[in-house]
Amino acid sequence: MTLEVTRQQTDSHSVGSPYVRLDGLTKKFGDFTAVKEVSLDIARGEIFCLLGGSGCGKTTLLRMLAGFEAPTTGSIFIDGVDVTQVPPYERPVNMMFQSYALFPHMTVAQNVAFGLYQDGVSKDEARDRVADILGLVRLGGYEKRKPHQLSGGERQRVALARSLVKRPKLLLLDEPLGALDKKLREHTQFELVNIQNILGVTFIIVTHDQEEAMTLGTRIGVMRAGEILQIGSPTDIYEFPNSRYVADFIGSVNLVEGRLVEDEPGHVRIDCPQFGCTVFVDHGVSAPADSIVSVAIRPEKIQISRECPEGADNVVSGTITGIAYLGDVSRYLVTLATGAVVRVTLPNIFRHETRLTIEDAVWLSWHGSAAVVVTR
């Protein structure tokens, strides 16, 4: 816990002064609170990902930033200016819609130029800027096409070009890759980051896909029920989740409950009845002794062996009851003597390995730094 706090402090120092600031933002629809007291600072040039399941309020938050919903309380500052009451057509913010929302009765060039004409940009300048941005998203020569003549990936790039051509201070992306198939999505992820690097526009991305958030985001905010549970870099979120929900939502994890039996500043021991052993954690936690905490261990941080490893801590034995071979890695389900099932992931490094098979009796062990203790 202490470690996590120091990490976040260094982060906020390195990214500079806030460019976008949300201050106590709340949105209520009748009795339902969609967004609850969200305060958030985002630096210039950042790619901030709002990650959460459906109905967690992430889209409402994005729509408040765009100006489509008025917050019930709280304010929004962009580049030092309070834009809470500014209508969407006057905000220095553009949005890329989940459905892309390309105007079906206009060509690609007309779609992209639409925003420029609203600002009174001259025809010549608009033509040049449209050509530039279409070149950037590799759609040169598509000017005369209509949206229905484009593939899904091409439409996505037109939508991106249209929202970037006005050089907004802030670009909002609502599930930008949601409608693309897997191969195209992987490719487009890197392209999106690349374009962001070239233009230096601040991005706020809403997604429910944790992989998308991890690859795109410089920072991630995990949302649940209208609140942001944790903000941090992808590494922070993955390696140092601050709650059971975050640990479970991001990636795969073994979560067990235990009682804090030894509480020292440098290490703790937790008695986990489900593991049938004590778990040694090589850093202190901010929970009183004897309290019930949760221990989160990522599957890839657990070693698996046929022989009993040395040391008394963090060692349990069990039987393999399930194997999923995925090519790059294999996932094992190991059932312990207590009946608990532990997930373990191992990389397949050697081609001719004598692989573990089902019903094998194995030992599981992990390093003192592998486990994370969460108190809520």
């Binding site: 765009a66 209508p87 057509y89 949005m95 105007f103 639409f114 003549q149 593939s151 006005k166």
Partner: protein, 283 residues
């Protein structure tokens, strides 16, 4: 077996068409009859275009037709404007006080008996005249206003159903790109609902063109529409020039319906093309 069944289908279809269109066909044929008596076919002098020529020189019919056309066109314009506004507010502003009442009231004239609509409008016009001196008497203006009140309801239904298929995100995207609300409406919403507005216009035109019940309540001397004239002429005994007039009207309506149908086929084709384009797998 198959042959036999198709024969049944074919004869059923023929019967249907005969049932529907034989009367019209009779009327068209008799419009070329030379005899002054509608029911007697004068084979010696028929067919003849005499009645059409007479129609062309009949000032009464020509001016009634002109008036009907003017009222129908004006009515269609007014109904389309008001109907689109109503449809827009019903579809896009889903949370305002009295929305349900508004929705019911805008479409009520569709189901209200025309006699009641006509009578209430007449009472309103008379009361207005007594209070404010306007409208002074019943004329083309009162007919047009009355026609707008009921044809607007049809426009609301047509435009609203189209509007429901227009993705709200399109309007939001335009606003996000800097277009003010009225510009969003004219640049994005209007072009997308234009087909519905066009059908609403044609529908309103036709509704007004052949309305007689409401018209007879709110028309005055000197403002006789074509349906009224035909009706009064028929009451005095059917004269053959009515056949000629009706034939022209039927021809006009047929052409209009055909154009509308062609337009719809064209639109469906384009829609199918667009749908196919969406379904094409990504490269």
């Amino acid at each position: 077996m198959k042959q036999k069944r198709s024969l049944v289908v074919l004869s059923a279809m023929c019967f249907g068409f005969v049932f529907l269109y034989l009367p019209l066909l009779m009327m068209i044929i008799y419009s070329f009859n030379a005899s002054r008596l509608v029911t007697v076919w004068d084979s010696a002098h028929s067919p003849t275009l005499a009645w059409y020529r007479e129609l062309w020189t009949n000032e009464e019919i020509l001016s009634a037709a002109k008036l009907s056309f003017k009222i129908a066109a004006l009515n269609a314009v007014g109904a389309v404007i008001l109907g689109t506004l109503a449809a827009f507010s019903l579809e896009r502003y889903t949370r305002f006080r009295g929305r349900t009442i508004f929705a019911l009231l805008t479409t009520a004239p569709m189901v209200l008996p025309e006699v009641i609509t006509g009578l209430s409008l007449l009472l309103l016009f008379v009361a207005l005249q007594q209070l404010f001196g306007w409208p002074s008497g019943r004329d083309a203006t009162t007919i047009t206003i009355s026609h707008i009140t009921f044809s607007m309801a049809y426009v609301v239904v047509v435009v609203q159903s189209r509007l429901a298929t227009v993705d709200r995100a399109l309007e939001e995207a335009a606003m996000d790109l800097g277009a003010r609300p009225w510009k969003v409406f004219f640049l994005i919403t209007l072009p997308l609902i234009a087909p519905a507005i066009a059908s609403g216009w044609v529908l309103s035109f036709i509704l007004s063109w052949d309305d007689i019940v409401i018209t007879s309540f709110v028309s005055g001397p000197g403002s006789t529409t074509l349906p009224q004239l035909v009706f009064s002429k028929v009451r005095l005994g059917v004269s053959p020039d009515i056949n000629a007039l009706a034939t022209i009207l039927v021809a006009g309506v047929s052409v209009g319906v055909m154009l509308l149908g062609l337009g719809m086929v064209h639109r469906d084709r384009r829609k199918n093309r667009e749908a196919r384009a969406v379904l094409v797998p990504e490269s």
